[in-house]
Amino acid sequence: MQEFLQLVVSGIATGGIFASLALALVLIYNAMGLVNFAQGEMAMLATFVAYSLVNRGMSFWIAFPVTLVLAFGGGIVIQRVVIKPAERAPVLTLVIITLGLATLVNGLAGFIWGYVPRSFPSPFSPDSVDLAGVFISYRDLGVIAVSGLVLLCVYLLLQHTTVGLTLRAAAHHPEASRLLGVQVSWMLALGWGLASAVGAVSGMMVAPILLLEPNMMQTIIIYAFAAAVLGGIESPLGAVVGGLIVGVTVNLAGSYIPGVGGDLQLAVGLGIIVAVLILRPNGLFGRAAVRRV
């Protein structure tokens, strides 16, 4: 039982990491009906930036917000330079662009920092706290706290500010929003900036666990896809819940199902994607696409 609870808590921690990246995917999917295949690589690049800052002697807790700001700006620049010119192109064109972007960012990081895995300092103590016989590491608690705080901030921004309101309106009803004076094109850029910053959180949280290298996010993005699809791909809340479910499931499957540990864990993520798409294509929180004829 204790082992089970420990696995659940560390599953929630990894789930928080998946949830951040899944939320980034959902933000862009909502804004333009596009799955951003470069989301993981953008997060990886941001993590390398944080790594460089920390390496120059900056404390993690200063490097963290600085990186978020830089990632936010970077997301806006990417939208303006790479995505906007193809705004009216079919979605498939945009998908190919994000795939190209992923390759480009990956290569760029490899060119600058090389492919040797580096250890990324964890800002949390490696000790554990004993809660009635269940040992929970401060690292897990720290990851849960940081992810939870970031997700809460995004929620407040989207639901309780005017910018969030116009962002949601522009995402769902661009034509009607334009007629209400909403600068739809800038709202898309803002969405990319926000997604890029939220994704960067997942990178900085996972790097101390996985070791930092250009391909670090390639498994994480699969779990994030699974989380987003499970949540219904267009629901921010769904992405968070989906992330937690995927995190816990993967962790439990890795320990209790013989042979699933290690490399095969990724198959659990892929299995979730396939199962959701076959059994419940709208996910947990997505609405069935209803079209009036």
Partner: protein
């Protein structure tokens, strides 16, 4: 009376298909003008041209300034509220959030609050349903929401695209009464596109009848109503 909106020889269309072939019309400051005509005559396209939703040539002037090369957002911020065909309600959002989208650009907080009070006086049902998703509203209530939201933008000109579409006659009557009262009390000019010619002519000082992208007839509202041949050939009653 000076004109708040003038269209001069406006040509417009979608890609290679041209829809308007030289439309000229004007809306006086604070006046109500209706734009009538059959399906496909170019009424909606005329409104879309005004707020930059379709490419056009010729000239469109609002408050004396040409709207050439002006983005939809800028035109709207300049004081034109366009209630589009299908009402443009954001069904993912609540009633309250839809209303806030109408007032989100305004910085005159005290006046905004007064306008909310006024809007809820006109449409008490919206106050009751503030917290509900806009998708739960009936067609008539959605039309009310669209009008209320337009009013909260405090425009100088409202473009209304078929406010009567799909609504029960009694709802249509009450909506038009409110439009007229908005026009009278706030001096907002109205350009009204309607299929329901009778009710539109009742409240318009001037009317234009479009036929395949051209103005076929124009005149005072009462005059068109009194002219039997016009009524029969263009207005269908």
């Amino acid at each position: 009376m000076s004109a708040i909106l003038e269209l001069e020889n406006v040509h417009a269309g979608y890609g290679p298909t041209s829809v308007l072939h030289g439309v000229s019309l004007s809306v006086p400051e604070g006046g109500v003008v209706s734009l009538l005509g059959a399906n496909g005559a170019g009424k909606t396209t005329t409104l879309r041209a005004i707020t930059g939703g379709v490419r056009w040539s010729g000239d469109i002037r609002f408050a004396g300034r040409s709207l050439r090369r002006t983005s939809t957002e800028e035109i709207v911020r300049g004081g034109i509220a366009h209630v589009p065909e299908g009402r443009g309600i954001c069904t993912e959002l609540t009633v309250d959030e839809n209303l806030r989208l109408g007032s989100h650009l305004r910085r005159d907080g005290a006046e905004v609050r007064k306008d909310y009070d006024r809007v809820f006086e006109y449409f008490p049902v919206l106050k009751e349903r503030r917290r509900l998703s806009a998708s739960t509203l009936s067609g008539g209530e959605q039309q009310m929401l669209a009008l209320a939201r337009a009013l909260l933008m405090r425009p100088r000109l409202m473009l209304l695209d078929e406010p009567s579409l799909g609504l029960a006659p009694i709802v249509v009557r009450s909506i038009f009464e409110i439009v007229r009262s908005i026009n009278l009390t706030s001096k907002v000019a109205v350009l009204l596109v309607e299929q329901n010619a009778r009710i539109a002519l009742d409240m318009s000082s001037t009317a234009y009848v479009l036929e395949v992208g051209r103005v076929a007839v124009q005149g005072a509202g009462a005059e068109l109503q009194g002219n039997e041949s016009v009524r029969r050939s263009y207005l269908g009653y």
